[in-house]
């Protein structure tokens, strides 16, 4: 008894004092809570986050991402390394490779013979950027491009690398970049999805694309990418049957909405609300999509700009043209995938074909956006998921070689909305390691979000008890490539 009292005395604390102090603390917290207007309004964490968006004035309103699926070789296109030609066939020194892990395809190779590019380079534009003879049209827009030669990634195989580039994580189930943008900024045009996906295929060695790359992950399903198909109906199941008139459809949707409203009142499930909205949007898309996808009114100069292939649905050129039209109609994020860049063997012939299919349309897109006054507000990104090795995979001959996957350096370009044209980053003479200004995939994401007016650290979503970001726990904005 005495001991307890002595302790209480020394701590100047007993039960009564403790409780009265506690009430003071709770009381003050209650007082403070008066300053939180939405404390009991049931507003979710997400709503609070979204209310803050955009965090600052965006430099770009929309993105067109020309994803070159399969990883184009930077050594054939942008990263000019004359030394590789001089050292043709010599082994890659271990001092350069520095224990870089290999894919299963070249792990068994005992020699890593260096292979210089078969193609010639020249310098273009104010930045004196080296651009390959394979890309004559791209060379023509050199002054618009910010060529980043120092991209690097963590993954070494297609699936994880693609997933990493699209979602910021190598494992699946995270929201894709376009979904994050849709979540953060919503749709500009309420009659079209905020995130559209267009696929095309080149003749080169291809790698798969799959819907997990445009998944909404744990975000609301309205943020999922909508894949446009190349057939007669770009959006599947959108058109009414011939026997259904527009008035019938309206009537049916009104009745359906009444039923859904009832369900919503009864259960309060927010997914019902999402459903109502999606039906309504599909109804509006029925008029908006045909107008957007109709290319018959494009003038001949536009056809010549993109090349005649742009009239053939499902080609890369057609998708570039469609991307411009979608963007023009307020689609936040248009994601193209073009397959066929995976040049493990027979790279020179394949890359020639790939470039023939993509060079003119890619450049045309930039020119077309520019002549309409849209380039300032549209961010265009071109690039693959990683680079290709400076050494040959398989037998090396004078006029044929293959290149394996290389995550340590590769080239992408960006243009338009807020981008400062120029060349950023350098690689060593072997084209193997980055020597200045490395840009990690997370940095790339942070920069893209920044250009769209969002702070990548603030754009979060709480899932499974943790707040997730596109950039995970990393990402530095590359300020040097952003226009002042």
């Amino acid at each position: 008894m005495m001991a307890k009292q002595a302790l209480e005395y020394r701590l100047r604390m007993n039960r009564r004092r403790f409780l009265s102090r506690l009430s003071l603390g709770i009381g003050s917290a209650a007082l403070g809570s008066l300053l939180i207007p939405d404390l009991f309004s049931g507003k979710s964490n997400e709503e609070a986050i979204l209310e803050q968006l955009p965090h600052f004035a965006p430099k770009a309103k929309r993105i067109i991402y020309l994803f070159q699926n399969g990883a184009p070789s930077q050594l054939e296109l942008f990263d000019y390394k004359p030394m590789l030609r001089e050292k043709f066939g010599q082994d890659l020194p271990e001092s350069i490779r520095m224990g870089q892990r290999l894919t299963g395809m070249t792990a068994e190779q005992t020699k890593f013979p260096l292979a210089g590019s078969l193609f010639n380079f020249a310098q273009y534009g104010e930045s004196k950027a080296w651009i390959s003879e394979l890309l004559p049209y791209t060379a023509g827009i050199a002054d618009e491009l910010c060529i980043i030669k120092s991209m690097y990634t963590e993954a070494i195989n297609h699936d994880p690398a693609l997933t990493f580039f699209q979602t910021g994580a190598q494992v699946g189930n995270r929201p894709s970049m376009g979904s994050w943008l849709s979540y953060g900024l919503g749709s500009e045009n309420k009659n079209l999805p905020a995130f559209c996906v267009l696929l095309s295929k080149g003749k080169g060695n291809g790698q798969g694309v799959y819907s997990k790359l445009w998944t909404n992950g744990f975000l609301d399903s309205v943020h999922q990418g909508v894949q446009f198909s190349s057939g007669e109906n770009p959006v599947l199941y959108l058109n009414d049957h011939a026997s259904v008139t527009r008035a019938d459809r309206r009537h049916m949707l009104d009745q359906l909405e009444a039923l859904n409203e009832e369900g919503l009142r009864e259960f309060g499930d927010p997914e019902i609300n999402a459903k109502i909205q999606q039906y309504e949007m599909a109804y509006r898309m029925q008029t908006a999509v045909p107008e957007v996808t109709d290319i018959s009114k494009e003038p001949e100069s536009v056809i010549k700009l993109y090349g005649p292939e742009c009239l053939v649905p499902g080609t890369y050129a057609a998708n570039c043209l469609l991307a411009r039209k979608l963007s023009e109609n307020g689609v936040r994020f248009v994601q193209l995938y073009h397959q066929g860049w995976d040049g493990h063997g027979n790279l020179p012939a394949e890359i020639k074909g790939q470039c023939a299919d993509t060079d003119q349309p890619s450049a045309a897109l930039i020119k077309d956006l520019k002549q309409r006054g849209m380039l300032d507000e549209t961010l265009v990104i071109w690039g693959g998921e990683f680079g290709r090795t400076n050494y040959c995979q398989g037998p090396l001959t004078k006029d044929n070689y293959g290149r394996d996957h290389h995550p340590r350096c590769f080239t992408i370009w960006m243009a338009g909305g807020g981008i400062k044209p120029g060349v950023y980053g350098e690689t060593d003479d072997f084209g193997y390691n980055i020597t200045s200004n490395p840009v990690h995939v997370h940095d790339f994401h942070a920069t893209v979000l920044h250009l769209m007016g969002m702070d990548h650290e603030q754009l979060t979503f709480k899932h499974l008890g943790r707040r997730y970001r596109l950039t995970d726990v990393a990402g530095k904005i590359v300020n040097d490539i952003i226009k002042a």
């Binding site: 003071l24 939180i36 104010e126 045009n189 107008e291 307020g330 002549q371 006054g373 400062k420």
Partner: protein, 715 residues
């Protein structure tokens, strides 16, 4: 006294709890206006805790030195401490309220905020344990130094927020003025060239140092040059001394700036180079240069185009914006909290003329208006002219004409105007001379003539004309027509289906294997029936375009099935399909040679013998093969067809030696068609020999190639 102290102590305790709570939920706080007034008293109140906390430290040190204090002196110390705790807490609470007002961001505020919180807690804690602190020397030292340290840090960060980053040391540090200049105002020399010299050259070449007797501080001194003469001379090699020195390798002694000093970036180098090349002008504006001028392109990117400009007008009410927003007219602030609005119209089918007029209520707040492709006409421009804050106006592909242009002259803030795809000509654009802020005008697809363009560029020197791509003079090949037929084996007769996506393209074709031409070959019309084994070759033609490449497709027709067939050599064990039956199953193989629909031969030729029970009238014989160079499948070196009525006495009916490909190409189906005068035959023999050695360009050069066949057709 004790009673009052107790009350104050409890209030301060509650205050600290409140402070902690508010910091936790900072993101979600919304300050009522009267509390903002309280918050703004922070700069007044904060001086109390600074002084009081310092007094506490001084007092307590004095107390320790004397060891024994009278009761009153002890009491004074503790009162002082309590007051310090109270004011610290008060100042911290007020500071937190102030920080929630817009305009307080960044590192300084973060450190200041948490510093204030720390001090508030620390002073209260000290009061609570003042006796143990007095007794223990180490505790005392810790307490004092923590207080002083946190006080200095917090107070300094606070001063930084109020007075700016370099306020304290500004008088003794060299100033680096950073004036932000917009592209409109930027001068070539003052804002592009001089800052480079300032940063990289003047530290040595100034009036007090003047290395090499060169002073670069003023224009006249710069033009005078130094000991080695003038700095540039456009007739000299590399344009004179300065460029020569700058371009020397870094190791050279004469390289400028010297090794170890900050070097010029490649960008800065080319800016100087182009400036000197163009005559080293010191008075011109940057914007006056031609948009394709190298110097303009290099330098303009570092100036803002006024995108982040601050708008001072009152925002429209959110309810009004909400009311005006619909699915086809989207109104949004350009950024969170900005009063400036951007408006986009979508889907012309849903456009109503009054949709524009309804915007009257917010017309002076609209900075960006996009009406592209809407059915907008000249009278509407009169109305748009009242949008006096407009920076960007997009009326491309609308119905506006020259006569509407004059109305736009009132838009004095307009920077970007897109007229692309309208009927506006040089005459209309000339009327836009009142647009004093105009930077860019998009005239692609308008009626603006090249002569007018030259004149207008002179007349409006500050405006960039974006004329886009015309393409009239570019001759580009069409893409080949598409052969839409799915089937390649004709059962009875099939209509030929050719298609081209280009409007007005002419499709010509041949059925006899010859190359189509623009005169002799027939023009495609639907309704042509294919009834025999043949190859369709087709090309597209259109005025203004070069002729397309040839697209071709084999169609196979079989009327006769032999009664007995035998393969002399077995196909390779990996590609043996269903044996000889594969060649007569009327199933075409696809491009996948592993599909089982193909027979593959490598070491031995494909040799097929067939016979009829009765002599049969035969006029054509076709073998369908695969070419896939990357898979080592080449056309056969030769294909021979023999026939006759006695098994041992066959006559050669024909031999085909297909041309070999010169490079890798996509896989494709090739048929070898033998046509001859109809004759009665009982026995036939086909031999297709693989190429013995792959050509030198092939990655498997020297190896044997494959022959793959999937079907035989006899007519």
């Amino acid at each position: 006294m004790r009673y009052w102290k107790n009350i104050i102590y409890n209030i301060v305790f509650a205050g600290n709890c409140l402070l902690f709570f508010l910091l936790l939920v900072e993101d979600r706080l919304v300050m009522p206006l009267w509390l903002q007034v309280v918050g703004r008293m922070h700069p007044l109140v904060l001086h109390f805790p600074v002084v009081l906390l310092l007094m506490v430290v001084v007092w307590e040190i004095a107390y320790r030195k004397r060891f024994q204090l009278s009761e009153t002196e002890d009491e004074t110390g503790s009162t002082l401490l309590l007051l310090a705790a109270a004011f610290t807490n008060l100042a911290a609470l007020m500071g937190l309220m102030l920080s929630l007002e817009p305009g307080y961001e960044g590192d300084a505020i973060l450190w200041h905020k948490w510093g204030g919180f720390f001090l508030s807690i620390l002073s209260l804690l000290w009061y609570a344990v003042k006796h143990p602190v007095r007794r223990s020397r180490s505790l005392f030292v810790v307490m004092c130094s923590l207080t002083i340290g946190a006080l200095i840090l917090t107070a300094h960060q606070g001063a930084t927020i109020t007075h700016g980053e370099d306020f304290l040391l500004a008088p003794i540090s060299t100033k680096e003025e950073e004036i932000t200049v917009s592209l409109q105002e930027a001068m070539v020399y003052d804002h592009v060239i001089e800052p480079i010299l300032e940063k990289k050259c003047i530290s040595c070449h100034n009036t007090s140092k003047a290395k090499g007797e060169l002073i670069m501080e003023t224009r006249s001194a710069l033009f005078r040059g130094g000991k080695n003469g003038i700095l540039w001379d456009t007739t000299a090699k590399k344009f004179g001394l300065m460029m020569q020195r700058l371009h020397l390798p870094l190791e050279e002694k004469k390289h400028m700036p010297p090794k170890g000093k900050p070097q010029l970036t490649p960008e800065e180098l080319s800016i100087l180079y182009h400036w000197i090349k163009a005559g080293a002008d010191t008075t011109g504006r940057l914007i006056a240069l031609h948009p394709s001028d190298s110097l303009y392109i290099l330098a303009s990117s570092s100036f803002s185009e006024g995108g982040d400009e601050l708008f001072t007008f009152e925002p429209a009410s959110p309810d009004l914006i909400n009311d005006l927003n619909d699915h086809y007219r989207v109104i949004s602030p350009i950024a969170k909290g900005s009063p400036a609005l951007q408006i986009d119209f979508y889907t012309s089918a849903n456009y109503q003329p009054d949709q524009l007029e309804e915007l009257k209520q917010i017309q002076d707040k609209v900075v960006s208006l996009n009406l592209s492709k809407m059915p907008v006409t000249d009278p509407d421009l009169q109305f748009i002219a009242s949008f006096n804050s407009l920076r960007n106006l997009n009326i491309s592909f609308t119905g506006v004409t020259d006569s509407g242009m004059a109305a736009l002259n009132g838009l004095t803030s307009l920077r970007h105007l897109s007229l692309a795809g309208t009927k506006v000509s040089g005459e209309g654009i000339r009327k836009l001379s009142g647009l004093s802020s105009l930077q860019k005008i998009y005239t692609w697809g308008t009626k603006l003539s090249p002569d007018d363009l030259i004149a207008l560029r002179k007349q409006m020197p500050g405006v960039k004309f974006e004329t886009g791509f015309e393409g009239d003079t570019i001759l580009m090949p069409l893409n080949p027509p598409i052969i839409e037929n799915q089937e390649s084996i004709i059962v009875d007769a099939v209509p030929l289906k050719l298609k081209h996506f280009m409007k007005g393209a002419e499709i010509r074709y041949t059925l006899d294997g010859s190359e189509p031409d623009s005169i002799l070959s027939p023009v495609y019309k639907p309704g042509i029936l294919l009834q025999n084994t043949l190859v369709v070759k087709t090309r597209a033609y259109k005025k203004g375009w070069a002729t397309s490449a040839t697209n071709l497709r084999y169609f196979y027709h079989s009327r006769i099935t032999p009664d007995a067939t035998v393969l002399i050599n077995r196909p390779d064990s990996l590609y043996r399909g269903n044996g000889v039956k594969t060649l007569f199953d009327e199933v075409k193989g696809d491009m996948n040679f592993r599909s089982g629909k193909w027979l593959g031969f490598k070491s031995k030729p494909l040799e097929l013998r067939l016979s009829f029970k009765n002599p049969t009238l035969v006029s054509s014989f076709t073998v369908s093969t695969l070419v896939d160079t990357r898979s080592y499948i080449m056309p056969p070196a030769s294909v021979e067809l023999w026939g006759g009525n006695k098994e041992n006495d066959l006559k050669r009916l024909g031999i085909i030696k297909p041309p070999q490909p010169q490079t890798d190409s996509a896989a494709g189906n090739v048929g070898y068609i033998f046509r001859f005068e109809p004759m009665l035959l009982k026995y036939m023999k086909l031999i297709a020999r693989p190429v013995p050695r792959l050509p030198s360009w092939h990655k498997g050069k020297g190896e044997r190639s494959w022959v793959f066949a999937d079907e035989i057709f006899i007519e």
